[in-house]
């Protein structure tokens, strides 16, 4: 519902931005994608801390789900950003600070997911993943600061991103807010879906164990 409203507003309601033309409309989905991707990665760290602290599998599964869904949106941010950059800046990619930061995040959490895939069967996997999730989150502020400085010291590399100051029309703000809300809901929904499959996986493991125990016990009699 919200999504439909957001789409309606993006394509019909909001006025076209003067400088960039129609392509600027990517903005309304691009930014919410970024927001939910960051929210997902933040959630990874929080659930990591909770897992190490409380030791409940629920937190581990939540962290995994958040990382995966966050990764999907992070990928979308990079793709849509690239598509937006081509007509406006004339290139698919520049080493602008925000782009670089996002790319690094993508690589970081890609590594996290690879670790999860590799450590899945290990009984330590959950703890290792929690630790790496926390370490990655600690890295994020340093990444942001250093990458930003890296680029501002080199002003040769173009343009800061438009939009932040470009929202002259109040309708643009409304549209962005609606899109934000829509994506937050979408994110939560995907997160729940993924989380549910992980919980089911855990249930299956428990049942398999019970079955193996019951069969072994039956042999003893």
């Amino acid at each position: 519902m919200l999504m439909v409203a957001a789409l309606y507003m993006v394509f019909l309601y909001v006025p076209t931005e003067a400088a960039q033309g129609i392509v600027q409309r990517i903005f309304y989905f691009h930014v919410p994608c970024a927001w939910v991707a960051f929210a997902g990665f933040g959630l990874v760290a929080i659930s990591g801390v909770l897992y190490l602290w409380l030791g409940q599998d629920v937190w581990d599964d939540l962290g995994y789900a958040a990382a995966e869904v966050g990764m999907v949106f992070c990928t979308l941010v990079l793709i849509t950003g690239s598509i937006w950059a081509k007509p406006i800046w004339g290139v698919w990619w520049t080493w602008d600070s925000r782009l670089t930061t996002t790319l690094l995040l993508w690589l970081l959490y890609g590594g996290y997911l690879m670790l999860r895939a590799a450590a899945n069967e290990s009984p330590n996997g959950a703890r290792l993943a929690a630790v790496v999730g926390i370490v990655a989150a600690l890295d994020v502020p340093v990444v942001i600061v250093s990458v930003r400085l890296w680029r501002t010291i080199h002003p040769a590399v173009l343009v800061t991103k438009q939009g932040g100051h470009g929202l002259q029309d109040p309708r643009m703000v409304t549209t962005l807010l609606v899109a934000m809300a829509a994506f937050t809901v979408l994110f939560a929904w995907l997160l729940m879906l993924r989380f549910a499959t992980l919980r089911m996986r855990a249930r299956i493991d428990r049942l398999t164990l019970r079955l193996a125990l019951a069969e072994a016990a039956a042999q003893d009699i």
């Binding site: 970081l108 996290y112 670790l115 590799a118 926390i134 890296w150």
Partner: protein, 223 residues
């Protein structure tokens, strides 16, 4: 403290005895520097900036192989369990392994600096001395990261592959700051001009040494 000294002393002694691994690390640094010279001379890049960049890349890769050895060698021959059942604190193990990693890397690093000066036609002057504290910060940061991550990757299948995938993006901010600060030092700019980069390096070190201190017990345990 005696336990810390015992572990560290043993690691250093083992490393000196095996010898070949230190040589291999230096050889690797040499190779990386040579390859970078080939790659960059095409683009016409020369001097301090390129030299500093090459040096830090060499550090990253030789560190990836060298820094993790302190811990992975224990895992390879099972002695990690001996450390874990002994009354030694996990924290003591962490700091002993971190120190060993830093020492190994520092040795390779000194060799890399000499090679860099030769290959990039720099001078053995005061700039090099001023660069040393920056390199030290970089080595400590990477050592802390590598010690935790090698404990992580040691538990997993394809751990050797996982390690760089995790370590490289995590290390990027320190790499940026380190290259910038080193280049500034080499070109004779005052310390204050690189202050912000040095601050980033210090923040990175504090963050990851601290994180390792708090999280190491979770990655080293088996159950």
């Amino acid at each position: 403290m005696t336990q810390f000294r015992a572990i560290l002393g043993k690691d250093l002694r083992l490393e000196i005895r095996s010898g070949e691994s230190t040589i291999a690390l230096i050889a690797l640094s040499l190779l990386i520097l040579v390859v970078i010279v080939f790659a960059l001379s095409q683009a016409g890049a020369r001097g301090t900036e390129a030299g500093a960049g090459a040096l830090w890349i060499a550090m990253l890769f030789s560190g990836m192989l060298g820094a993790v050895r302190a811990l992975s060698s224990e895992r390879d021959n099972g002695t990690i369990y001996a450390l874990l059942v002994s009354p030694v604190d996990r924290t003591t193990i962490y700091f002993a392994k971190l120190t060993a990693a830093v020492v190994f890397m520092a040795i390779a690093e000194v060799a890399a600096v000499v090679l860099m000066v030769l290959f990039f036609n720099l001078n053995f002057d005061f700039g090099l001395l001023r660069m040393l504290p920056i390199l030290a910060l970089g080595v400590i940061g990477f050592g802390a990261l590598a010690t935790v991550l090698s404990a992580v990757s040691g538990h997993t299948r394809m751990g050797d592959l996982i390690l760089p995938v995790l370590a490289v993006p995590l290390y990027v901010p320190a790499l940026i700051a380190g290259v910038k600060a080193s280049a500034a030092m080499l070109s004779g700019a005052p310390f204050t001009s690189a202050a912000i980069w040095i601050k980033i390096l210090i923040a990175f070190d504090l963050l990851f040494v601290g994180a390792g201190y708090l999280l190491f017990e979770f990655v080293i345990a088996e159950n």
